[in-house]
């Protein structure tokens, strides 16, 4: 299959990145080999297994995620790890495919129409519960926020555009609330409402809606400011860095992003050559093997290399979308969209943060970053879909 090659190509490229870090190289190799074994196992298991046990798998991992803060060992202040000797497992990583399975199972039910408020609510529970557990209990913002990606799946399955528009407006409002003095923003919202009233004044109900929207908007603005005030300092700083608010000290809070940009920027058109990156090799860039792995690509392979990586990953993602569309069973289709959404979200946030287009959130680049759990997680996510896809013709509509 076409994208098997892509997968292999991606694998090969990961190989060079990891050789940079000799001590982690060996471990990662074990993860790669085990991932291949895992992939084969997934391909062997009957495709009906995934459909049948979707909720069960979801439940098991949900329990595991609830349990880990209490049973797992603390690593670098993080309570999201199960340790087995030298190796650690992050159950939160596996929550992604589990949630995807459950979501697919729920939405593929013939009787379910997502447009119903009740169903929308259940869907949001399916996505929101893991998100909250991971965020609140494990304090892993990066792993939690990934679940937002399922919005793409929901959109494809009929979620009203209004929700997305509202969400988008909310984000815009959120950013504006941080950038502009609240009082000015209130005035702007009020003026917009008045203009709206002038335009559509005939209908009393509309007037009511406009008033309600205005009040909600103002509340959000105020709420945003309040939430921001109560955020932890490092989160505040990350937001400040991204929005360019205030003075950013490049030696402290701005260090990560600035160093990442220097590393990538210094790569030039063709890069410095394999293993010749000075910025990443000599630890100027923090976390250069995990979350900032893209810096290594950017520095050593230059514009050409980083473009190839982005194009490869995007091709894989879009390929998955097309494959999802050709599925006969809604379950497979929905699951496929989930895979594409998660991969895309990772790509966007991870690459975006290294080039200063997204906030710094610690999430790995699929198939590139060092880390067993994430590799396993992406392997499982993807190969379940491959398995489902290989049997698409046997499923009756």
């Amino acid at each position: 299959m076409g994208w098997m090659n892509i997968y292999a190509a991606v694998y090969n490229e990961e190989h060079y990145v990891i050789t940079d870090i000799s001590q982690k190289y060996g471990k990662q190799l074990i993860w790669i080999v085990s991932s291949i074994v895992l992939a084969i196992i997934i391909l062997i298991i009957d495709e009906n297994f995934y459909t049948a046990f979707a909720y069960l798998i979801f439940g098991i991992f949900l329990v595991a995620n609830i349990a880990v803060p209490f049973l797992g060992r603390e690593v670098k202040g993080s309570r999201s790890w199960f340790r087995f000797g030298d190796f650690g497992i992050q159950p939160a990583e596996f929550m992604k495919f589990a949630t995807n399975l459950a979501l697919a199972k729920f939405l593929s039910n013939q009787n379910i129409k997502i447009a119903d408020y009740k169903n929308t609510f259940i869907t949001l529970i399916l996505i929101g519960v893991p998100l909250l557990i991971i965020k609140v209990l494990q304090d892993e913002t990066g792993l939690a926020i990934v679940f937002v990606a399922f919005i793409f799946t929901l959109y494809r399955e009929g979620l009203s555009v209004n929700y997305l528009l509202l969400g988008f407006l909310a984000i815009v409002l959120f950013i504006l609330a941080l950038l502009i003095n609240n009082t000015y923003l209130f005035v702007i919202i009020a003026s917009l409402c008045i203009i709206a009233v002038v335009v559509v004044r005939k209908n009393a109900r509309n007037l009511f809606i406009i008033a309600a929207v205005g009040i909600v908007a103002c509340t959000m603005v105020k709420g945003t400011s309040m939430v921001y005030e109560h955020m932890e300092p490092h989160q505040k700083i990350r937001i400040d860095v991204l929005l360019g608010r205030g003075t950013v000290d490049l030696k402290k809070e701005g260090y990560n992003v600035n160093q990442a940009k220097i590393a990538i920027g210094s790569g030039g058109f063709l890069g410095k050559g394999y293993l010749q990156g000075t910025q990443t090799k000599y630890d100027f860039v923090p976390e250069q093997d995990t979350d900032f792995i893209f810096c290594t690509v950017g520095e050593e392979w230059g514009f050409v290399g980083s473009t190839i990586v982005i194009v490869l990953l995007l091709t894989l993602i879009i390929r998955v979308v097309f494959m999802a569309e050709r599925q006969r069973s809604p379950f497979s289709r929905i699951y496929g969209y989930g895979v594409a959404s998660v991969l895309f979200f990772h790509l966007t946030v991870n690459v975006g943060m290294t080039i200063g287009l997204a906030p710094v959130i610690g999430i790995p680049l699929p198939f590139f970053s060092y880390g067993g759990s994430s590799l396993w997680s992406f392997t499982i996510l993807l190969f379940i879909f491959i398995k489902l896809d290989s049997h698409r013709l046997q499923i009756l509509r």
Binding site: G158, T278, Q279, Y282, D283, G298, E325, L357
Partner: protein
Amino acid sequence: MNHQLAERKYIIIGVFLLVGLAFITRLFYIQVIDDSYKLDARNQAFRYQTEFPLRGYIYDRNNKLLVYNEAAYDLMVLPKDVKKIDTADFCDLLGITKAVFIRKMIKAVQAPNSPKRESIFEKQLSPREYASLQERLYRFPGFYVQSRTLRKYPRTIAAHMLGYIGEADKAMTVKDPFYKEGDYLGISGIEKTYEKVLRGKKGLHIMMVDVNNSNKGSYMNGLYDTAAIPGKPLTTTIDGDLQAYAEQLMQNKIGSVVALDPQTGEILAIVTSPTYDPNLLVGRARNKNFARLSLDSIGKPLFNRSTMASYPPGSTFKLVMALIGLNEGVLTPHTFYPCARGYPPLGGHPKCHAHPSPQDLTGAIGTSCNSYFSFVFKSVIEDRKYHDTYKAFQNWRDIATSFCLGTKTGSDLANELRGNVPTIKYYDKVFGKGSWKASTVISLGIGQAELGITPLQNANLVAIIANKGWYYTPHIVKSIAGNPNDSLLDRFKVKHYTEIKDSAVYMNVIRGMARAVEGGTAGALKIEGIPYCAKTGTAQNPHGNDHSVFVCFAPIENPKIAVGILIENAGFGATWAGPIARLMVEKYLKGKITRPDLEKRMIEGDLIHKKQPVAKPKH
């Protein structure tokens, strides 16, 4: 409905592609268009290490070494690595007190230095100090040694001519970005004039460092490194043995000797006395020694008299007067002028000494008659064929200037003085336009008044007479890196002619100079087997006793050496200046000395420390 929803895939794919496109655009901007990140990266991860080139050696004309390099070691410190050292032990090793240690450490940490940047802790350790330090250096992390080179002089001669090396200051680094503060460069002498030849090219090593400034080895295995290119060696025209001998003869006397090869313009010896050991102005002791040498206000050993002191030319200039007079046709070898212990028309001024009167040109040169050359000067300035004193004076000045007087010779010696031949403008200013004439400035005729000449010009003047009207620009470098045809030396291969080109004119003067040796004022200074020409003189000096002046060239036919010598406040030329010049000529031409008595007297003569009775002129 379902069909409609399927359409949504295009929007989703569109969003994906849009984000991908945004990323690629952004990458293109920061990786290809914006160069600032590349610069930042280099500044962060690279340390540029300079490899200092070896400075070119300097040889004498016989390829004997005059200047070479000796290794010296700068003790460097990287403060962030200095941990748990035994300070007392360390201070002991370096021979410094704890207070000094602390002061130096503070300096190394504070701006513009920093704990993360290496700086010089102790400059220029000698190889011996280095040897004892090196064995124990491992006990003092954060300290290491960087090698530099220092000038070294195997023979302690020609200090002024060679010059010395100093460190580039901030102004220098602005003027010429080749230099970084603290780099060595030539400050005086040929170290300065040939700086660009001697200095070579600095090498650059690009080292990589990590975030903690730890060294990670050379960048790309040294692909972009450049090796230092050593400076080119210089072969000078100096005859080391003659130079050493002249310095020995000149010891304890204040003055200067310059010896030239008239046929090439090569400077065979150039002595400024008192001189100093050039090794004193090297290394850590330089500042201390420099200050000490500066304190000697009588000898002024740092003052390079041979090119930077302007003396009244005195009797030497009478030779030029004779040449001008003969050339203008206002004087013949058989012109007689009277002398009445002075110049009769002006009531005996300028004064003269006792000698037969009247006499002809040869006699006047032999006795250095002041009256005679005052007459000559008057007849030149009042020459009827010019109808005008100003025109005649200008002509006189033009001819004098063509003998390289009042103008720099253009040699490759650093900081050459122009000397002085006064201009019409100058006298107009002093006396008023039209209110001066020959008799007003009559002492120009005997080489006094405002005339000024450097010892180098003096020697060059003799060379011109020896050559009968031409000269090559005096110079000190014979070849660069073994190449005598280096383009830098082209200007020394151009033959210059004076305004007086008739060799017969010169012969009249040369005959007079030969007479001075055969039976005149230099009669006591004959050299067996070598007939030569000389002119003794005294230069009146407003500040004290007369300067002792002597010029000569030898042999008469096909001259090989021309010497000009001036000894301050030493009286009559034949007493001190003459014998020294004579000994030098003999040494150069014969290689041995036939008058050890004279040699002994000259070497032992001390005109600085004990007052010598000044010999009375005895013509």
